[in-house]
Amino acid sequence: MRFLMISKPTDTPPDEKLFTEMGAFIEELTAAGVLLATGGLEPGGVVLSSRGDEITVTDGPFAEAKEAAAGFALIEVGTKEEAVELARRFRRIVGDGESTVQQVFGG
């Protein structure tokens, strides 16, 4: 089963310690053979919306940027509980904030 773990942006800027711990965490996930892909996302990005025949393209930044994703990890494990346990470890490293874990169908 594949799960997409998405984390929302936080107010506190990342420091040296966070980078080191995140590096170690990613290394651990890779060594465990469960991490398929991971990456950080630019704040805001481009928003496309469609209404009828009309498609609107809007460049960021946006006021509601907090709802956007700041980073993602695609993992492959046997159960949802394993995915949640890994997300729990991630949250322990990054401190206050929010992540979502969703199963990827067909993966």
């Binding site: 290394e27 890779t30 060594a31 465990a32 053979g33 469960v34 398929l36 892909a37 695609l74 492959e76 494990v77 046997g78 159960t79 509980e81 394993e82 949640v84 346990e85 890994l86 322990r92 067909g106 993966g107």
Partner: protein, 640 residues
């Protein structure tokens, strides 16, 4: 969330590191797993009440380690290692050692697979049993026996030494790929792909690639598995039927896994070593993944890669795949010539893909009736439902227009096919039960090899002779003659005189096959002194192979025919006593049994101070014995 399910998840993620860390303390993986299980039981008791700890993995590790230290104290072993110094990457080193011990050469292959899935992948016995369509008690027994063997052999918890490394690594990779293939093409049952096993194998492979990044074959295996797994979704149709590679919807190939496969391949290539079998197989998978349509496949390159693979891995299955590639690269006639050369290979006797491939090549050559029979024969040889359905469909589709419209009377009476004729022959009233059973064995083989629908007029003496030579060519004369008699009887009954003419009667001798080589072979002066001394010592001492190989010259008491080993004595009789003085040949210390190769200076305990040569490894000793006698060293010990 359910606490028990969380505990399962933590166990799955942590068990390899916990068991590995404990094994380093207690030098026994079986004991290490029991201690880890104790910690798991403690979690099952405490977490539902006290809540899940902040860091569940660390909690389990701490409890398990405490149990290990208690155990060491109780058994009053040395306490020097209790300080438990954590090196950087210690956990990774522990897991790698654990993998090597689980794939120890003293274990049969099934046991290696079960133990690796249990201890490294953290599967339960029930999960392993389900995945391999076995009973759970059977798996439990196999794992228990494997742990016992490891303890008896004194396998401990060490990394393989330098010259043993390639062989030990090959064993690990074989286990991982076996698990993958069991999942990818299940040998039985209804699910063509048991995704769980594929995922476990990929997980193990990716893990190994991090633990042993300098081994090109590890990256090759990972690349091969990622690329094969990328096609998993496209490999079956809506009704679960099998879809061949060149008919697959390439849009359903998983691009993420393909990219991961390419990346693993680049890592393998970057190491610059001459490509091994996994790297070459991965290169073939890369060719398929790079072709946007089936027609764009570079079959010439694939055929060349198979030429290289046949040299590295000259198995019958690889040669069959090479024939397929040649069929696509240079035309079906060229492919068929290669396949026909494999028809007498005993290893492919019941392999359904041989007739399946032949059927495909024959159908491309327009030989539809022969093709149809081959597809039917292939369907009869596989237990996989999806493959059976696929092959039956191909057989049905291969009714060539000429034959389908042919006049009905050419079909002849019902007995005109091999299957019907054999059934009628065996159904006769005048056959006794024992005779029918004996004949049954002969004709089951004949029908599997030639197919039930073979017309009787195509059943020639040459064909019968070829089937017999493949099936029983190396059997005892008595067996051969029994099958020959059955076929001669059938020839008379079916009015096909001469059918068994290609079968010579063999002279039956009263040779008794013995599992242990005769003393004359063990003592043959044509063999090197070292081998003779080792075998005599094993036979006469009944000590384990590991114990005997661990002996040092300074431990020997040649006068009293004994040597100190740990707290015990290894003793021998006159046979070894005659040989040992020559083997020692003036040496005063260092390993008793030496390899031909020089050891690196760092391996102090396993290096001869006189010659600089290393200690003879288990793998090498096993290989030498097998080459000389065909048996295993363990059987020698048991015979003593």
């Amino acid at each position: 969330m359910d606490v028990h399910r969380t505990i399962d998840a933590v166990w799955k993620l942590e068990s390899a590191r916990i068991v590995g860390g404990l094994a380093r303390l207690v030098h026994d993986v079986g004991l290490a797993e029991e201690l880890a299980q104790d910690a798991l039981v403690a979690a099952l008791e405490q977490w539902p009440v006290a809540g899940i700890p902040d860091n569940p993995g660390a909690w389990l590790t701490t409890v398990a380690r405490r149990r290990a230290i208690d155990h060491i104290r109780r058994s009053r072993q040395t306490t020097t290692e209790m300080s438990y110094v954590e090196q950087p990457h210690q956990a990774q080193d522990d897991v790698l050692r654990l993998v090597f011990v689980c794939c120890h050469p003293a274990l049969p292959r099934d046991a290696r697979v079960a133990l690796t899935l249990r201890l490294v992948a953290g599967l339960t016995a029930a999960e392993i049993a389900r995945a391999f369509l076995q009973d759970e008690p059977q798996v439990v027994r196999r794992i228990a026996a494997a742990k016992r063997t490891l303890a008896e052999e004194g396998a401990g918890f060490t990394r393989p030494s330098g010259d043993a490394m390639p062989g030990r690594l090959a064993s690990v990779l074989e286990v991982v790929y076996l698990v993958f293939n069991e999942g990818y093409s299940a040998t039985g049952g209804r699910d063509l792909i048991r995704a769980d096993l594929c995922r476990e194998a990929l997980r193990l492979g990716r893990m190994l690639a991090t633990l042993a990044p300098g081994e090109a074959e590890v990256h090759g295996l990972v690349a091969l598995m990622e690329l094969q797994a990328s096609r998993a979704a496209a490999r079956t149709g809506p009704a679960g039927e099998l879809i061949l590679l060149h008919e697959q919807n390439r849009g359903r190939w998983d691009q993420l896994l393909i990219k991961r496969g390419f990346a693993a391949m680049l890592r393998a290539r970057a190491l610059g070593a001459p490509p091994g079998p996994y790297v070459v197989q991965a290169a073939i998978a890369v060719c398929h993944a790079q072709a946007r349509t089936a027609a764009e496949t570079d079959w010439t390159r694939i055929a060349t890669l198979y030429d290289a693979l046949v040299r590295l891995l000259p198995t019958a299955v690889v040669r069959l795949n090479r024939a397929v590639a040649i069929g696509f690269a240079y035309g079906p006639a060229a492919g068929l010539a290669e396949v026909d050369a494999l028809l007498t290979d005993p290893a492919l006797r019941d392999y359904h893909l041989l007739p399946a491939v032949r059927g495909d090549l024959l159908s491309r050559l327009g030989r539809h009736e022969e093709a149809r029979r081959e597809f039917e024969r292939a369907a009869g040889l596989t237990r996989n439902h999806a493959e059976q359905a696929f092959l039956r469909r191909r057989a049905a589709e291969t009714e060539g227009p000429a034959e389908a419209e042919g006049p009905a009377e050419t079909k002849g009476p019902a007995e005109a096919t091999l299957g019907a004729a054999v059934a009628a022959f065996l159904a006769r009233d005048d056959l006794g039960r024992a005779t029918r059973r004996s004949y049954g064995q002969t004709f089951t083989r004949l029908r599997r090899a030639l197919g039930d629908s073979l017309p009787l007029d195509e059943l020639t003496a040459d064909r019968v002779a070829s089937v017999c030579a493949t099936a029983w060519g190396s059997a005892a004369a008595k067996t051969w003659n029994r099958h020959r008699a059955a076929l001669r009887s059938f020839a008379v009954w079916s009015s096909l005189p001469g059918l068994a003419d290609g079968l010579e009667r063999r002279v039956e001798t009263a040779a008794v096959a013995s599992p242990v080589p005769a003393a004359s072979l063990l003592d043959s002066p044509a063999l090197p002194l070292r081998e003779r001394a080792l075998w005599r010592l094993l036979l006469e001492s009944s000590a384990t192979v590991t114990t005997v190989l661990a002996l040092n010259v300074e431990d020997l008491d040649l006068e009293d025919r004994r040597a100190r080993s740990g707290g015990r004595w290894v003793t021998w009789r006159s046979g070894a006593a005659r040989l040992l003085p020559d083997l020692v040949a003036g040496r005063t210390s260092g390993p008793l049994f030496l390899t031909e190769r020089r050891a690196s200076a760092s391996t102090v305990g396993d290096r001869c101070p006189h010659t600089g040569r290393g200690r003879l490894s288990y793998e090498r000793a096993e290989y030498l014995f097998k080459r000389a006698t065909g048996g295993t060293l363990r059987s020698l010990r048991a015979a003593g």
